[in-house]
Symmetry: C2
Protein backbone atom coordinates (compact mmCIF):
# COMPACT_ATOMS: atom_id res chain seq x y z
CA UNK A 1 0.00 0.00 0.00
CA UNK A 2 1.45 3.36 -0.96
CA UNK A 3 0.88 6.63 0.87
CA UNK A 4 -1.80 7.79 -1.55
CA UNK A 5 -3.95 4.74 -1.04
CA UNK A 6 -3.37 4.82 2.67
CA UNK A 7 -4.57 8.38 3.04
CA UNK A 8 -7.61 7.77 0.85
CA UNK A 9 -8.77 4.98 3.14
CA UNK A 10 -7.88 6.72 6.37
CA UNK A 11 -10.69 7.30 8.82
CA UNK A 12 -9.92 10.04 11.34
CA UNK A 13 -12.84 9.17 13.56
CA UNK A 14 -11.27 5.81 14.35
CA UNK A 15 -8.75 7.59 16.55
CA UNK A 16 -9.36 9.06 20.00
CA UNK A 17 -10.58 12.60 19.62
CA UNK A 18 -9.88 15.61 21.72
CA UNK A 19 -10.56 19.28 21.43
CA UNK A 20 -7.80 21.86 21.27
CA UNK A 21 -8.12 25.34 22.64
CA UNK A 22 -5.74 28.24 22.89
CA UNK A 23 -5.73 30.41 25.98
CA UNK A 24 -3.84 33.64 26.40
CA UNK A 25 -2.17 35.06 29.49
CA UNK A 26 -2.10 38.67 28.31
CA UNK A 27 -0.17 41.05 30.55
CA UNK A 28 0.05 44.81 30.53
CA UNK A 29 1.06 47.51 32.95
CA UNK A 30 -1.43 50.08 34.11
CA UNK A 31 -0.71 52.73 36.70
CA UNK A 32 2.38 50.93 37.84
CA UNK A 33 0.68 47.60 38.41
CA UNK A 34 0.72 44.41 36.37
CA UNK A 35 -2.69 43.68 34.86
CA UNK A 36 -4.10 40.53 33.31
CA UNK A 37 -6.81 40.27 30.67
CA UNK A 38 -9.73 38.22 31.99
CA UNK A 39 -13.21 37.36 30.81
CA UNK A 40 -16.13 36.70 33.09
CA UNK A 41 -17.81 33.64 31.68
CA UNK A 42 -21.42 34.08 30.64
CA UNK A 43 -22.08 30.39 30.17
CA UNK A 44 -21.43 27.13 31.97
CA UNK A 45 -19.15 25.62 32.90
CA UNK A 46 -17.79 27.98 35.52
CA UNK A 47 -20.48 30.49 34.71
CA UNK A 48 -19.73 33.79 36.40
CA UNK A 49 -16.10 32.92 37.03
CA UNK A 50 -13.19 34.81 35.57
CA UNK A 51 -11.24 32.96 32.89
CA UNK A 52 -8.43 33.51 30.45
CA UNK A 53 -9.44 34.66 26.98
CA UNK A 54 -9.31 31.76 24.59
CA UNK A 55 -11.25 29.38 22.45
CA UNK A 56 -11.16 26.56 19.99
CA UNK A 57 -8.49 26.51 17.33
CA UNK A 58 -9.93 26.87 13.85
CA UNK A 59 -9.31 24.05 11.38
CA UNK A 60 -7.02 26.07 9.14
CA UNK A 61 -5.02 28.13 11.61
CA UNK A 62 -1.78 27.61 13.45
CA UNK A 63 -1.74 27.58 17.24
CA UNK A 64 -0.10 30.97 17.60
CA UNK A 65 -2.37 32.41 14.92
CA UNK A 66 -5.34 31.21 16.90
CA UNK A 67 -4.02 32.81 20.05
CA UNK A 68 -3.54 36.12 18.25
CA UNK A 69 -7.04 35.89 16.85
CA UNK A 70 -8.52 35.27 20.28
CA UNK A 71 -6.56 38.19 21.66
CA UNK A 72 -7.83 40.41 18.84
CA UNK A 73 -11.42 39.33 19.43
CA UNK A 74 -11.31 39.92 23.16
CA UNK A 75 -9.52 43.25 23.04
CA UNK A 76 -11.24 44.55 19.94
CA UNK A 77 -7.79 45.38 18.69
CA UNK A 78 -6.32 45.06 15.23
CA UNK A 79 -3.69 46.24 12.84
CA UNK A 80 -0.58 47.90 14.13
CA UNK A 81 -1.55 47.97 17.79
CA UNK A 82 -2.06 44.23 17.79
CA UNK A 83 1.12 43.61 15.83
CA UNK A 84 3.16 45.32 18.51
CA UNK A 85 1.97 42.82 21.10
CA UNK A 86 4.53 40.14 21.87
CA UNK A 87 3.02 36.66 21.74
CA UNK A 88 4.72 33.35 22.43
CA UNK A 89 3.68 29.84 23.31
CA UNK A 90 3.74 29.17 27.04
CA UNK A 91 2.87 25.52 27.63
CA UNK A 92 0.08 23.01 27.12
CA UNK A 93 -2.31 21.82 29.77
CA UNK A 94 -4.09 18.54 29.32
CA UNK A 95 -5.09 16.90 32.59
CA UNK A 96 -7.97 14.58 31.72
CA UNK A 97 -10.41 16.27 34.08
CA UNK A 98 -9.43 19.88 33.57
CA UNK A 99 -12.64 20.59 31.69
CA UNK A 100 -15.90 18.91 32.77
CA UNK A 101 -17.33 18.86 29.26
CA UNK A 102 -14.81 16.69 27.49
CA UNK A 103 -11.13 16.12 27.04
CA UNK A 104 -9.70 19.49 26.13
CA UNK A 105 -6.04 20.27 25.76
CA UNK A 106 -5.24 23.94 26.02
CA UNK A 107 -2.16 25.41 24.41
CA UNK A 108 -1.52 28.44 26.57
CA UNK A 109 0.21 31.52 25.21
CA UNK A 110 1.83 34.48 26.88
CA UNK A 111 1.39 38.06 25.65
CA UNK A 112 3.11 41.31 26.59
CA UNK A 113 1.19 44.41 25.60
CA UNK A 114 1.61 48.15 26.04
CA UNK A 115 -1.24 49.82 27.88
CA UNK A 116 -4.32 48.94 25.84
CA UNK A 117 -7.87 50.28 25.96
CA UNK A 118 -10.46 48.42 28.00
CA UNK A 119 -11.70 45.33 26.20
CA UNK A 120 -15.20 45.01 24.82
CA UNK A 121 -17.22 41.98 25.88
CA UNK A 122 -18.17 39.66 23.04
CA UNK A 123 -21.23 37.45 22.75
CA UNK A 124 -19.93 34.65 24.98
CA UNK A 125 -19.05 36.86 27.92
CA UNK A 126 -20.89 39.41 29.97
CA UNK A 127 -17.75 41.15 31.16
CA UNK A 128 -14.11 41.54 30.25
CA UNK A 129 -11.33 43.64 31.68
CA UNK A 130 -7.78 44.13 32.78
CA UNK A 131 -7.46 42.99 36.40
CA UNK A 132 -4.45 43.67 38.61
CA UNK A 133 -2.63 40.38 39.19
CA UNK A 134 -1.98 41.19 42.83
CA UNK A 135 -5.70 41.17 43.57
CA UNK A 136 -6.66 38.13 41.53
CA UNK A 137 -9.59 36.04 42.67
CA UNK A 138 -7.20 33.08 42.56
CA UNK A 139 -9.59 30.47 43.81
CA UNK A 140 -12.29 31.74 41.53
CA UNK A 141 -10.52 31.43 38.22
CA UNK A 142 -12.17 28.90 35.92
CA UNK A 143 -10.65 25.53 35.05
CA UNK A 144 -6.91 25.32 35.81
CA UNK A 145 -6.39 28.92 34.80
CA UNK A 146 -4.87 29.94 38.13
CA UNK A 147 -2.07 27.48 37.47
CA UNK A 148 -1.63 28.75 33.93
CA UNK A 149 -1.44 32.32 35.15
CA UNK A 150 1.19 31.36 37.70
CA UNK A 151 3.27 29.69 35.02
CA UNK A 152 2.83 32.71 32.77
CA UNK A 153 3.93 35.14 35.45
CA UNK A 154 7.02 33.11 36.23
CA UNK A 155 7.84 32.90 32.52
CA UNK A 156 7.39 36.67 32.22
CA UNK A 157 9.70 37.34 35.15
CA UNK A 158 12.27 35.03 33.66
CA UNK A 159 11.98 36.45 30.13
CA UNK A 160 12.81 39.94 31.37
CA UNK A 161 16.12 38.60 32.56
CA UNK A 162 17.57 37.44 29.29
CA UNK A 163 15.48 39.07 26.56
CA UNK A 164 14.67 42.70 25.77
CA UNK A 165 10.93 42.00 25.91
CA UNK A 166 10.36 44.50 28.72
CA UNK A 167 10.18 47.10 25.95
CA UNK A 168 7.01 45.41 24.69
CA UNK A 169 5.15 46.77 27.70
CA UNK A 170 5.98 50.30 26.58
CA UNK A 171 5.27 52.51 23.59
CA UNK A 172 7.69 52.97 20.72
CA UNK A 173 9.66 55.56 22.69
CA UNK A 174 10.41 55.37 26.38
CA UNK A 175 12.77 56.57 29.06
CA UNK A 176 15.15 54.40 31.06
CA UNK A 177 13.07 55.16 34.13
CA UNK A 178 9.95 53.82 32.41
CA UNK A 179 11.84 50.69 31.43
CA UNK A 180 12.98 50.31 35.02
CA UNK A 181 9.35 50.65 36.06
CA UNK A 182 8.49 47.61 33.94
CA UNK A 183 11.16 45.52 35.64
CA UNK A 184 10.13 46.69 39.09
CA UNK A 185 6.48 45.94 38.38
CA UNK A 186 7.01 42.49 36.90
CA UNK A 187 9.66 41.43 39.39
CA UNK A 188 7.84 43.01 42.30
CA UNK A 189 10.65 44.90 43.98
CA UNK A 190 12.54 48.16 43.50
CA UNK A 191 15.80 48.39 41.59
CA UNK A 192 18.69 50.75 42.03
CA UNK A 193 18.09 53.57 39.54
CA UNK A 194 21.70 54.45 38.86
CA UNK A 195 22.98 50.91 38.41
CA UNK A 196 19.98 49.96 36.28
CA UNK A 197 20.55 52.93 34.02
CA UNK A 198 24.18 52.05 33.38
CA UNK A 199 23.44 48.37 32.98
CA UNK A 200 20.76 48.88 30.32
CA UNK A 201 22.96 51.17 28.26
CA UNK A 202 25.89 48.75 28.53
CA UNK A 203 24.02 45.77 27.03
CA UNK A 204 24.55 45.84 23.25
CA UNK A 205 21.35 46.22 21.27
CA UNK A 206 18.98 46.50 24.21
CA UNK A 207 17.95 50.12 23.55
CA UNK A 208 19.07 52.83 21.18
CA UNK A 209 18.75 56.56 21.63
CA UNK A 210 16.20 58.49 19.60
CA UNK A 211 18.11 61.70 20.24
CA UNK A 212 15.06 63.28 21.83
CA UNK A 213 14.05 64.11 25.37
CA UNK A 214 10.79 64.11 27.28
CA UNK A 215 8.83 67.35 27.12
CA UNK A 216 8.72 67.71 30.88
CA UNK A 217 10.60 66.39 33.86
CA UNK A 218 9.03 63.96 36.30
CA UNK A 219 5.73 64.64 38.03
CA UNK A 220 7.56 65.71 41.15
CA UNK A 221 10.45 67.44 39.42
CA UNK A 222 13.73 66.32 37.97
CA UNK A 223 15.49 66.82 34.67
CA UNK A 224 13.98 65.81 31.33
CA UNK A 225 14.93 62.26 30.45
CA UNK A 226 16.40 61.05 27.17
CA UNK A 227 14.19 58.91 24.98
CA UNK A 228 15.07 55.46 23.68
CA UNK A 229 13.53 52.83 21.44
CA UNK A 230 14.00 49.07 21.44
CA UNK A 231 17.29 47.91 19.89
CA UNK A 232 17.89 44.94 17.62
CA UNK A 233 19.09 42.44 20.23
CA UNK A 234 16.99 39.34 20.70
CA UNK A 235 18.89 38.23 23.77
CA UNK A 236 20.48 40.31 26.50
CA UNK A 237 24.15 39.61 26.95
CA UNK A 238 25.09 39.78 29.68
CA UNK A 239 21.65 39.15 31.14
CA UNK A 240 19.84 41.33 33.64
CA UNK A 241 19.55 38.88 36.50
CA UNK A 242 16.99 39.16 39.23
CA UNK A 243 18.43 39.78 42.67
CA UNK A 244 19.34 36.41 44.23
CA UNK A 245 16.43 34.40 45.50
CA UNK A 246 17.90 31.60 47.57
CA UNK A 247 14.49 30.24 48.50
CA UNK A 248 13.49 29.38 44.97
CA UNK A 249 16.65 27.47 44.19
CA UNK A 250 16.00 24.30 46.18
Amino acid sequence: MNEQDFLAGYDPSAYPSTAITVDVVALTIREGALHLLLIRRGQPPYQGHWALPGGFVQPDEDLTTGARRELAEETGLGGDRLRRVHLEQLASYGAPDRDPRMRIVSVAHLAFAPDLPDPVADSDADEAGWLPVTALPSRQLAFDHARIVDDGLERARSKLEYTPLATRFLGPEFTIAELRGVYETVWGHPLHAGNFHRKVLSVPGFVESTGGNTERGGARGGPRARLYRAGDARLLHPALLRPAREETVR
Copy 2:
Protein backbone atom coordinates in the same frame (compact mmCIF):
# COMPACT_ATOMS: atom_id res chain seq x y z
CA MET B 1 -29.80 26.48 32.98
CA ASN B 2 -27.46 25.24 35.69
CA GLU B 3 -24.12 23.48 35.15
CA GLN B 4 -25.63 20.03 35.63
CA ASP B 5 -28.22 20.46 32.93
CA PHE B 6 -25.72 22.08 30.65
CA LEU B 7 -23.29 19.20 30.86
CA ALA B 8 -26.03 16.63 30.38
CA GLY B 9 -27.04 18.24 27.11
CA TYR B 10 -23.54 18.94 25.92
CA ASP B 11 -22.54 17.35 22.64
CA PRO B 12 -18.77 17.11 22.24
CA SER B 13 -19.00 16.24 18.56
CA ALA B 14 -20.51 19.63 17.82
CA TYR B 15 -17.08 21.18 18.35
CA PRO B 16 -14.14 20.98 15.97
CA SER B 17 -12.19 17.84 16.72
CA THR B 18 -8.50 17.28 16.65
CA ALA B 19 -6.20 14.49 17.70
CA ILE B 20 -3.52 14.93 20.33
CA THR B 21 -0.25 13.08 20.30
CA VAL B 22 2.80 13.20 22.52
CA ASP B 23 6.25 12.94 20.98
CA VAL B 24 9.48 12.55 22.91
CA VAL B 25 12.90 13.95 22.13
CA ALA B 26 14.86 11.47 24.25
CA LEU B 27 18.56 12.23 24.58
CA THR B 28 21.35 10.13 25.99
CA ILE B 29 25.12 10.07 25.75
CA ARG B 30 26.88 7.07 24.29
CA GLU B 31 30.61 6.89 23.72
CA GLY B 32 30.99 10.61 24.12
CA ALA B 33 28.34 11.51 21.56
CA LEU B 34 24.79 12.77 22.00
CA HIS B 35 22.25 10.22 20.82
CA LEU B 36 18.56 10.55 20.05
CA LEU B 37 15.92 7.83 20.25
CA LEU B 38 14.28 7.35 16.87
CA ILE B 39 11.80 4.92 15.36
CA ARG B 40 11.77 3.92 11.74
CA ARG B 41 8.13 4.04 10.72
CA GLY B 42 6.69 0.78 9.50
CA GLN B 43 3.50 2.32 8.16
CA PRO B 44 2.40 5.34 6.15
CA PRO B 45 2.57 8.22 6.33
CA TYR B 46 6.33 8.67 6.05
CA GLN B 47 6.82 4.94 5.86
CA GLY B 48 10.49 4.08 6.19
CA HIS B 49 11.38 7.48 7.62
CA TRP B 50 12.82 8.00 11.06
CA ALA B 51 10.49 9.65 13.54
CA LEU B 52 10.32 10.58 17.17
CA PRO B 53 8.76 8.02 19.49
CA GLY B 54 5.24 9.03 20.34
CA GLY B 55 1.59 8.32 19.93
CA PHE B 56 -1.93 9.25 20.83
CA VAL B 57 -2.70 10.36 24.34
CA GLN B 58 -4.97 7.93 26.14
CA PRO B 59 -8.33 9.22 27.38
CA ASP B 60 -7.44 8.98 31.06
CA GLU B 61 -3.83 10.06 31.12
CA ASP B 62 -2.07 13.35 31.55
CA LEU B 63 0.20 14.66 28.80
CA THR B 64 3.43 13.96 30.64
CA THR B 65 2.15 10.57 31.73
CA GLY B 66 1.51 9.75 28.12
CA ALA B 67 4.99 10.81 27.14
CA ARG B 68 6.50 8.64 29.85
CA ARG B 69 4.37 5.71 28.73
CA GLU B 70 5.50 6.13 25.14
CA LEU B 71 9.09 6.28 26.28
CA ALA B 72 8.62 3.12 28.31
CA GLU B 73 7.03 1.31 25.39
CA GLU B 74 9.73 2.27 22.94
CA THR B 75 12.67 1.57 25.22
CA GLY B 76 11.20 -1.49 26.89
CA LEU B 77 12.15 0.16 30.14
CA GLY B 78 10.32 0.30 33.43
CA GLY B 79 10.57 0.76 37.15
CA ASP B 80 13.55 2.50 38.63
CA ARG B 81 15.49 2.94 35.42
CA LEU B 82 12.59 4.77 33.85
CA ARG B 83 11.98 6.84 36.95
CA ARG B 84 15.51 8.20 36.79
CA VAL B 85 14.85 9.66 33.34
CA HIS B 86 14.19 13.38 33.40
CA LEU B 87 11.08 14.28 31.42
CA GLU B 88 9.63 17.72 30.81
CA GLN B 89 7.25 19.31 28.38
CA LEU B 90 9.02 20.98 25.47
CA ALA B 91 6.42 22.70 23.28
CA SER B 92 3.37 21.96 21.17
CA TYR B 93 3.32 21.79 17.41
CA GLY B 94 0.07 22.28 15.58
CA ALA B 95 0.52 23.62 12.06
CA PRO B 96 -2.65 22.59 10.21
CA ASP B 97 -0.78 20.58 7.59
CA ARG B 98 1.89 18.99 9.75
CA ASP B 99 0.25 15.58 9.43
CA PRO B 100 -1.33 14.56 6.12
CA ARG B 101 -3.95 12.37 7.80
CA MET B 102 -5.81 14.93 9.85
CA ARG B 103 -5.33 17.82 12.21
CA ILE B 104 -2.94 16.55 14.85
CA VAL B 105 -1.41 18.65 17.57
CA SER B 106 1.69 17.14 19.08
CA VAL B 107 2.79 18.01 22.59
CA ALA B 108 6.51 17.38 22.42
CA HIS B 109 8.50 16.39 25.48
CA LEU B 110 12.20 16.38 26.23
CA ALA B 111 13.93 13.53 28.06
CA PHE B 112 17.42 13.19 29.50
CA ALA B 113 18.48 9.61 30.14
CA PRO B 114 21.60 7.84 31.33
CA ASP B 115 23.02 5.36 28.87
CA LEU B 116 20.15 2.95 28.20
CA PRO B 117 20.05 -0.41 26.44
CA ASP B 118 19.10 -0.55 22.79
CA PRO B 119 15.34 -0.22 22.31
CA VAL B 120 13.16 -3.05 21.11
CA ALA B 121 10.93 -2.38 18.13
CA ASP B 122 7.23 -2.63 18.81
CA SER B 123 4.49 -3.72 16.47
CA ASP B 124 4.17 -0.37 14.68
CA ALA B 125 7.83 -0.05 13.79
CA ASP B 126 10.35 -2.20 12.07
CA GLU B 127 13.35 -0.55 13.67
CA ALA B 128 14.26 1.59 16.65
CA GLY B 129 17.53 2.85 17.98
CA TRP B 130 19.70 5.53 19.45
CA LEU B 131 21.15 7.62 16.63
CA PRO B 132 23.94 10.15 17.04
CA VAL B 133 22.48 13.61 16.58
CA THR B 134 25.47 14.80 14.59
CA ALA B 135 24.69 12.34 11.83
CA LEU B 136 20.95 12.77 11.72
CA PRO B 137 19.15 12.24 8.44
CA SER B 138 17.66 15.70 8.94
CA ARG B 139 15.76 15.91 5.73
CA GLN B 140 14.44 12.44 6.20
CA LEU B 141 12.79 12.84 9.57
CA ALA B 142 9.03 12.36 9.42
CA PHE B 143 6.53 15.21 9.82
CA ASP B 144 8.04 18.33 11.42
CA HIS B 145 10.24 16.24 13.68
CA ALA B 146 13.47 17.85 12.50
CA ARG B 147 12.19 21.14 13.84
CA ILE B 148 11.11 19.55 17.11
CA VAL B 149 14.54 17.96 17.52
CA ASP B 150 16.22 21.32 16.91
CA ASP B 151 14.05 22.95 19.54
CA GLY B 152 14.76 20.09 21.93
CA LEU B 153 18.50 20.34 21.45
CA GLU B 154 18.49 24.07 22.04
CA ARG B 155 16.38 23.58 25.15
CA ALA B 156 18.80 20.92 26.38
CA ARG B 157 21.80 23.18 25.85
CA SER B 158 20.03 25.94 27.69
CA LYS B 159 18.86 23.74 30.56
CA LEU B 160 22.42 22.69 31.34
CA GLU B 161 23.23 26.31 31.97
CA TYR B 162 20.88 27.00 34.82
CA THR B 163 19.76 23.61 36.13
CA PRO B 164 21.68 20.60 37.45
CA LEU B 165 20.04 18.30 34.88
CA ALA B 166 23.37 17.33 33.34
CA THR B 167 23.55 14.76 36.14
CA ARG B 168 20.53 13.02 34.61
CA PHE B 169 22.72 11.81 31.77
CA LEU B 170 24.90 9.96 34.27
CA GLY B 171 24.49 7.17 36.78
CA PRO B 172 23.86 7.76 40.47
CA GLU B 173 27.58 8.31 41.09
CA PHE B 174 29.92 10.16 38.78
CA THR B 175 33.17 12.07 38.63
CA ILE B 176 33.56 15.75 37.83
CA ALA B 177 35.30 14.74 34.60
CA GLU B 178 32.28 12.69 33.57
CA LEU B 179 30.01 15.63 34.33
CA ARG B 180 32.26 17.85 32.28
CA GLY B 181 31.96 15.33 29.46
CA VAL B 182 28.19 15.80 29.49
CA TYR B 183 28.54 19.55 29.11
CA GLU B 184 31.14 19.21 26.38
CA THR B 185 28.98 16.75 24.48
CA VAL B 186 25.75 18.70 24.71
CA TRP B 187 27.31 22.09 24.12
CA GLY B 188 29.62 20.76 21.45
CA HIS B 189 32.92 22.23 22.53
CA PRO B 190 35.64 21.55 25.08
CA LEU B 191 35.70 23.19 28.48
CA HIS B 192 38.65 24.04 30.67
CA ALA B 193 39.02 21.12 33.09
CA GLY B 194 40.41 23.04 36.04
CA ASN B 195 37.98 25.94 35.90
CA PHE B 196 35.03 23.61 35.36
CA HIS B 197 36.03 21.54 38.37
CA ARG B 198 36.18 24.51 40.68
CA LYS B 199 33.01 26.04 39.31
CA VAL B 200 30.91 22.91 39.82
CA LEU B 201 32.05 22.51 43.40
CA SER B 202 31.39 26.18 44.12
CA VAL B 203 27.72 26.09 43.12
CA PRO B 204 25.66 25.22 46.21
CA GLY B 205 23.70 21.99 45.89
CA PHE B 206 24.90 21.02 42.43
CA VAL B 207 26.81 17.92 43.52
CA GLU B 208 27.72 16.37 46.83
CA SER B 209 30.61 14.08 47.59
CA THR B 210 29.96 10.41 48.22
CA GLY B 211 33.30 10.12 50.00
CA GLY B 212 34.44 7.45 47.57
CA ASN B 213 36.84 7.35 44.67
CA THR B 214 36.93 5.57 41.35
CA GLU B 215 38.56 2.12 41.43
CA ARG B 216 41.07 3.03 38.76
CA GLY B 217 42.53 6.13 37.23
CA GLY B 218 41.70 7.19 33.70
CA ALA B 219 42.20 4.93 30.70
CA ARG B 220 45.48 6.63 29.94
CA GLY B 221 46.57 7.15 33.51
CA GLY B 222 45.98 9.80 36.10
CA PRO B 223 44.89 9.77 39.72
CA ARG B 224 41.65 8.19 40.89
CA ALA B 225 38.84 10.72 40.85
CA ARG B 226 36.46 11.49 43.69
CA LEU B 227 32.87 10.40 43.25
CA TYR B 228 29.86 12.67 43.54
CA ARG B 229 26.10 12.37 43.35
CA ALA B 230 23.49 14.94 42.40
CA GLY B 231 22.79 17.56 45.06
CA ASP B 232 19.46 19.02 46.07
CA ALA B 233 19.58 22.22 44.04
CA ARG B 234 16.92 22.67 41.39
CA LEU B 235 18.57 25.73 39.91
CA LEU B 236 22.24 26.55 39.56
CA HIS B 237 23.17 29.82 41.16
CA PRO B 238 25.27 31.28 39.79
CA ALA B 239 24.57 29.60 36.48
CA LEU B 240 27.08 27.79 34.32
CA LEU B 241 26.90 29.94 31.23
CA ARG B 242 27.92 28.79 27.79
CA PRO B 243 30.88 30.60 26.34
CA ALA B 244 29.65 33.78 24.61
CA ARG B 245 27.96 33.29 21.28
CA GLU B 246 27.60 36.74 19.78
CA GLU B 247 26.09 35.38 16.57
CA THR B 248 23.00 34.01 18.23
CA VAL B 249 22.13 37.19 20.05
CA ARG B 250 20.79 39.26 17.18
